[in-house]
Every structure is written in structure tokens, then in C-alpha cells.
């Protein structure tokens, strides 16, 4: 094969490559920042219908690959579209196609959606996806559920055949970036809700909550939520005490399960039974304090100084704050918990800045890799061609090399391979560079 034939073959390979100009990554969506709940709920797709919706999206004209992310805070369509012509003329059409899909699938007029829609393309779409999966775009920055939701969408899209080469590699990269941000920053390490702060504090005192006993004094919604969080983290026994015994029994029944022991305690037996509890959550409407400092001393004595954690979410307070001075008693009221939650939120914001830097770096890396990848087919042609020439030349000199020992033959093989690799190196580098600059233009 002569030089001109080789050049034309490389040229044709380069032209046939599905480069960035031939497919276009488009992300269209609404989220908690752009749309009120009234709009979001009209577009929300339950997970049972996600496969069907993704299949419908894939059948839209020009869509090569697609994925739908639908959570309570966002609905996003990530699509890889065929780029039919000039960029300026295709952009409004793409958006119109996706809007039509939303309109047809959800029966929502485009005029109701359009003002809330955002659209990202190519690099910005990658950035947005990385930010979403890393929980930087979430209502509560750092919340861990979003990554699981993205993964679920990906699994469904893959099952229906809507994700293949391009989106596959993009999503795999997305998961890696999200994981990297979790491990390299503290973005999700601190709790930002009252109930989870209470759990965190309990774990700072007791370590594992396995087998711990929780006493609920009063039957408020927030104390119920905190108790649920404690059960999720291993608390195995729930005692409930209320002035109205029937309410205590009702609440105890709510927590009953094969792994959780529940018991309604008569209010008259409260002081007698309290030392059984490691964690006490109070939320009564009593005008006076229920637990004073002396109670704390008495409880600790009966528990042989094993610590107790009092979570007082009542206003006015149920636990005398001076009980906190008793060694082994830890008393937190609603203000303390709120302050801890606010401080954690501030910490998350600081960590989010570090996470944004990682996202920017990863977007650059991904883009660079994508651009270099377009040159791969042409590089393969060049390498195959060089290898063919090398083998032909070796075969031609076969008779002259016949007297060589196997070691000498191996040395000649390796020498010729090394020579062709070195001769090819500048061409391959130039090819990669030219593909990269072509894509950037």
C-alpha cells in the first residue's frame, strides 16, 4: 500500500468516526430551583413507569441514547442526539422535540413547562450531571440518596437498551466522580436535620446504638421521628410514657416489630423506670420541668454511672439544663440541636466549594479523553499498516536471517518493533492533537 492510499484510508476512518460533531449531548430538565412543586409533581415519573418513559424517549426522532432521572426534586432528560446539521439551526429543534415528548407523555402544555426548563449541552451537560450525582445540586447539599437514584435510572435505561457506548462511559465516569467527592471531601459526613443530629450525638456517646433503650416521654411528632432514626441505627427497645396511658400504648404499638421491644410505661412509674433508658426523648407540654438535676444524679447512681442522653425537644423545656452538669448526663434541648444542625450545614457549604473544584477538574479530564478517543480508529489503521510493513520486510529478509539463533531473532523482532513505534510516535501525537483541535473548533 503506497503513501497516498494510506492517507486516504486514514482520512476516511476519521470521517466515519462518530466525533463530537456528529452526536450531541443534551440535558433538559426542571428542578427545585427552577420549578415549584406544582409543576414538578406533574412531571414526576414513578419508578414503575420509568422504563416505559425511557423507551418512549428513545423513540423520539434523532435520539440515539437517553436516560430519565426523576426524583421528588427534579426531572431531567439526558439524551445523546444525532447532529444533523449546523449547530445554530439544530438547537431550537432539539429542545422542541424534547418538549413535545414531555407534552405528549405527561399531557402538560409546553407553555406550563417552558419557563421552568433549563438546558445544558455537551461540556455543561457533563458538568451538570457530575454535580447532580455528587449531590451539589440537591436541595440539601451532600444528601446521599441522589447517587442511588441516578444509578437506578441508569440501570433501567440500560435494561431497555437506552444506554450504550457514549452514555455508558459518561455515567460510569459520573459514578466515579461522585464517589471521589464523597471520599475526598466531607460533604456528606455531617447531619443537617434535628433527628439525624440527635442520632449522631447518641453515637458519639454510645458508639453503636445496637441494643440501646430509648424512652419517649410525651408523644410528639418530632420525638417519634427521632425515635425512628434511633431504631434505624440499632436501638432495640422503645419505652413510651405519657400522661394519657392510651396514647402511650398507641405510640408504643407504632414502633412494635419483631426486632424492637416496645413497652408503655404508666406516667406514675416514670422516675422508677427511667434508669432503664440510655436515651430519653422528652416532648411533653408540661409547664414545669419533669426532670431536675437531682433526678439525673439518682439515675446515674442506679446505672452505675453508665451515661444517659437526654434529648429535650419540648418548649417549655422538660429537663432542667443544670442536669447537664451531672457527670454522665448529657442534655440537649431543641436550640442545641438546631445550632448543631446549622453548624453542620455551614460545614457542608465549605466542603461543597472543594467538591466544585473536583467537578471542574473531572469535566476537563472527561472532555479531553472524549476528544482523544475520536482519533482511535485512525491510530489503529496507522499501527496496523506499520505492523504489516514491518512483517513484510522481515519476511523479505527471511533468507538472510535464517542463520540466526532464536535469541537473535527475538532481538531483531524487538528492534524492528521499537523502530516502527518510534517512527510512528510523532504522527500519532499529531493525529491526536489535530482531532482535539478539530473538536474544539
Amino acid at each position: 500500500m503506497n503513501q497516498s492510499k494510506l492517507q486516504s484510508r486514514i482520512q476516511s476512518r476519521l470521517q466515519s468516526t462518530p466525533a463530537a460533531g456528529h452526536v450531541r449531548l443534551v440535558l433538559l430538565g426542571i428542578n427545585h430551583n427552577t420549578a415549584p412543586i406544582e409543576v414538578r409533581e406533574r412531571l414526576a415519573i414513578p419508578s414503575t413507569r420509568l422504563a416505559d418513559a425511557t423507551r418512549t424517549l428513545l423513540h423520539q426522532p434523532g435520539i440515539r441514547e437517553g436516560l430519565i432521572l426523576s426524583t421528588c426534586n427534579r426531572v431531567e432528560l439526558l439524551t445523546l442526539q444525532e447532529d444533523a446539521g449546523e449547530a445554530s439551526s439544530i438547537q431550537p429543534q432539539t429542545k422542541a422535540d424534547l418538549l413535545r415528548f414531555l407534552h405528549e407523555y405527561f399531557a402538560v402544555p409546553p407553555i406550563d413547562i417552558q419557563p421552568h426548563l433549563y438546558e445544558f449541552r455537551e461540556r455543561e451537560a457533563v458538568r451538570h450531571l457530575f454535580r447532580v450525582a455528587s449531590s451539589l445540586d440537591s436541595m440539601v447539599v451532600g444528601e446521599p440518596q441522589i447517587l442511588g437514584q441516578v444509578k437506578e435510572s441508569y440501570t433501567i435505561a440500560r435494561e431497555v437498551g437506552a444506554v450504550s457506548t457514549h452514555l455508558e462511559s459518561l455515567l460510569q465516569r459520573t459514578f466515579t466522580v461522585a464517589k471521589k467527592i464523597r471520599s475526598e471531601t466531607q460533604i456528606g459526613s455531617s447531619s443537617v436535620s434535628i433527628a439525624s443530629v440527635a442520632v449522631d450525638l447518641a453515637r458519639k456517646i454510645f458508639g453503636s446504638l445496637q441494643g440501646k433503650t430509648v424512652l419517649l416521654v410525651g408523644a410528639g411528632k418530632m420525638s417519634e421521628l427521632a425515635a425512628r432514626h434511633l431504631i434505624e441505627h440499632g436501638a432495640s427497645s422503645i419505652l413510651v410514657s405519657n400522661r394519657t396511658q392510651s396514647r402511650a400504648e398507641k405510640l408504643a404499638a407504632v414502633f412494635a416489630s419483631p426486632t424492637v421491644h416496645t413497652e408503655a410505661i404508666p406516667f406514675e412509674a416514670l422516675y422508677e423506670q427511667t434508669p432503664r433508658a440510655d436515651i430519653v426523648i422528652t416532648s411533653t407540654g408540661a409547664p414545669q420541668k419533669i426532670f431536675g438535676r437531682s433526678h439525673g444524679q439518682h439515675f446515674l447512681q442506679r446505672r452505675r454511672n453508665r451515661p444517659m442522653f437526654f434529648i429535650d425537644i419540648a418548649v417549655p423545656r422538660d429537663v432542667d439544663p443544670r442536669m447537664n452538669k451531672v457527670e454522665g448526663c448529657f442534655v440537649y434541648d431543641i436550640d442545641d440541636l438546631q445550632q448543631a444542625a446549622a453548624a453542620n450545614l455551614a460545614d457542608r457549604s465549605r466542603e461543597a466549594a472543594a467538591a466544585e473544584t473536583i467537578v471542574s477538574r473531572e469535566v476537563d479530564k472527561y472532555h479531553e479523553r472524549l476528544q482523544s478517543r475520536d482519533a482511535v480508529p485512525a491510530i489503529k489503521v496507522l499501527q496496523q499498516q506499520a505492523e504489516a510493513i514491518r512483517e513484510t520486510e522481515l519476511a523479505r529478509s527471511q533468507s538472510k536471517l535464517a542463520g540466526l539463533t532464536p535469541q537473535q531473532r527475538e532481538a531483531v523482532e524487538s528492534l524492528t518493533r521499537s523502530l516502527t513505534a518510534k517512527l510512528l510516535h510523532p504522527q500519532l501525537t499529531a493525529l491526536r492533537e489535530s482531532t482535539r483541535s478539530k473538536n474544539t473548533e
Binding site: 471520599s183 454522665g328 448529657f330 448543631a340
Partner: protein, 269 residues
């Protein structure tokens, strides 16, 4: 050759001491994966170094203070690994690993020349006596350290200041402190017993009238009393630290009493 292994062990302790900082303070698992294997490797090399040293010593046992420190460093590194294995916390390594590194540094690069001749038959027992007592000291150091960490975390929880995320939970530090003491008791008892039997065989009954020996037995009684009080009264926090500190200083006094002793001074000129 034993010196070379000791130097490698010290280097590994140094790496572990540095890696444990981001692992504990910033909860970076990658650094934990460096700190733990480095400590394990350090302990293994330290063991090899020790075995070679004992093998080479035959009837002469190195008794330089730094050699003893190096052995204490090895025991502390083992204690750190045991705590990690049981409680999955590397926090104590922030304090223990630099100590292991420093304790090994001097004997690794300026080995002592002092050694004492013992009858061949006693060498193993004497080494066991020293090692067991050092294990008891290490248990006490660990217990004191855990109690101090308990105190710091307790203060922060009481003051409602942000807790230090790298410190273990109060119950964990309390368990470490308690169990370290319980582990130290049989070590100290056996160490003293072996020492007494060797002394009885070599020096005779006069050995037990030595102030150092009397102080050592007093230390043993106080140690038992401390464990009893901690267990019965469920002593935690500030009072537990006071008690542990008292016993710790008593141990230091017993160690220093070597200088007063007429019979327990192997490195005397």
C-alpha cells in the same frame, strides 16, 4: 543484622505515624490503608530484629534504657493494632505511633553498649519478666490515653461545642480503658512473679527487702485497687483520669527506683 531490621521497623512506624494523621483526623480511608499495613510490617520487622538480637545475645542481655524503650514501642504498636482490630478506630494511633517511632529511633541509630551477663538458663525468663512488665506498663499508658480522650470528648459534648469526629465514642474509649487495665493485670502479676522466682533463685530472700521491689509490689496492689474501684463504682471521666494518672506516676516512680535499688541495677557502672 538485627539493627537493620530495627531501622526498617522504625521507618515503617514513621510512615504509619504520618499516614495515621489524615486517616484519623480527616477520616481518609486511603491513608488508613497505608497506616495499618505499615504498622503491621513495622511490628513484624521489629519482632525479627528482637529475635535476632536475643539469638545473638546468648547469655548477655542488652539492658540499656533505650533497648527497653524500643521493646515498649513494639508492645504499644501491638496494642494499637489490637485496638484497631477490636474497635475499628485509628484515633489512638495519632498518639501511640509517634511514640513507637521515637522509642525505636535511638536504639536503631545509636544502639546502647550496655549488657548484663546472666546464667544461660535465666535469659528467657528474664526477658519474659521484662516483656510482661512492659506489657503491663503499655496497658496502663493505653488506659490513661483512652481516659484522656474520653475526658476531651465528654467536655465537648457537655459544652455543646462541635465534637471531634476523629475521637471514638465515649463508650468505646471507656471500654478500651477498662479492658487495657484488665489485660495489664495478669501481665503485671506474672511479670512480678517470674522476677521474684528468679531473684529467689539467684540473690535469695534479701532481694525482697529492696525498696525498688517493695515499691513494685505496692504498685501491683494499687493497680488491683484501681481496677476494683473502676469496676465497682463505674468510674468514668475526670475521676477515672485522676486515678489512672496516679497509678501511672506510681509506675514511673517504680521505674525510676532502679537508681535507688542495690540489686535491680543492671546497667550500673
Amino acid at each position: 543484622m538485627s539493627l537493620l531490621w530495627l531501622r526498617v521497623a522504625v521507618l515503617l512506624y514513621g510512615i504509619a505515624a504520618l499516614a495515621v494523621l489524615p486517616a484519623a483526623l480527616y477520616d481518609r480511608p486511603r491513608w488508613r490503608h497505608i497506616a495499618i499495613p505499615a504498622t503491621i510490617a513495622g511490628v513484624l520487622f521489629h519482632f525479627v530484629s528482637l529475635a535476632e538480637m536475643l539469638n545473638a545475645a546468648h547469655h548477655r542481655l542488652p539492658v540499656d534504657t533505650h533497648e527497653t524503650q524500643s521493646l515498649l514501642g513494639l508492645i504499644l504498636a501491638l496494642a494499637f493494632l489490637m485496638v484497631y482490630w477490636r474497635y475499628k478506630t485509628v484515633s489512638l494511633g495519632v498518639f501511640l505511633l509517634p511514640v513507637c517511632f521515637l522509642f525505636g529511633l535511638v536504639p536503631a541509630f545509636h544502639p546502647g553498649q550496655e549488657s548484663t551477663a546472666f546464667p544461660m538458663v535465666h535469659i528467657g525468663w528474664i526477658f519474659l519478666h521484662v516483656a510482661l512488665l512492659l506489657a503491663a506498663y503499655a496497658a496502663l499508658v493505653l488506659s490513661l490515653l483512652a481516659s484522656l480522650l474520653y475526658l476531651i470528648q465528654e467536655r465537648r459534648l457537655k459544652q455543646k461545642s462541635p465534637t471531634l469526629p476523629w475521637l471514638p465514642a465515649l463508650e468505646t474509649t471507656d471500654q478500651i480503658a477498662q479492658r487495657a487495665l484488665l489485660f495489664g493485670l495478669p501481665c503485671m502479676t506474672a511479670g512480678l512473679l517470674i522476677g521474684s522466682l528468679i531473684a529467689q533463685a539467684t540473690v535469695g530472700a534479701s532481694y525482697f527487702r529492696d525498696p525498688k521491689i517493695l515499691l513494685a509490689f505496692a504498685m501491683w496492689l494499687v493497680y488491683i485497687a484501681m481496677i476494683h474501684i473502676r469496676r465497682i463504682a463505674g468510674l468514668r471521666g475526670r475521676r477515672a483520669v485522676y486515678l489512672s494518672s496516679f497509678v501511672f506516676f506510681l509506675v514511673l516512680a517504680v521505674w525510676a527506683a532502679n537508681q535507688l535499688s542495690a540489686v535491680h541495677r543492671f546497667n550500673a557502672p
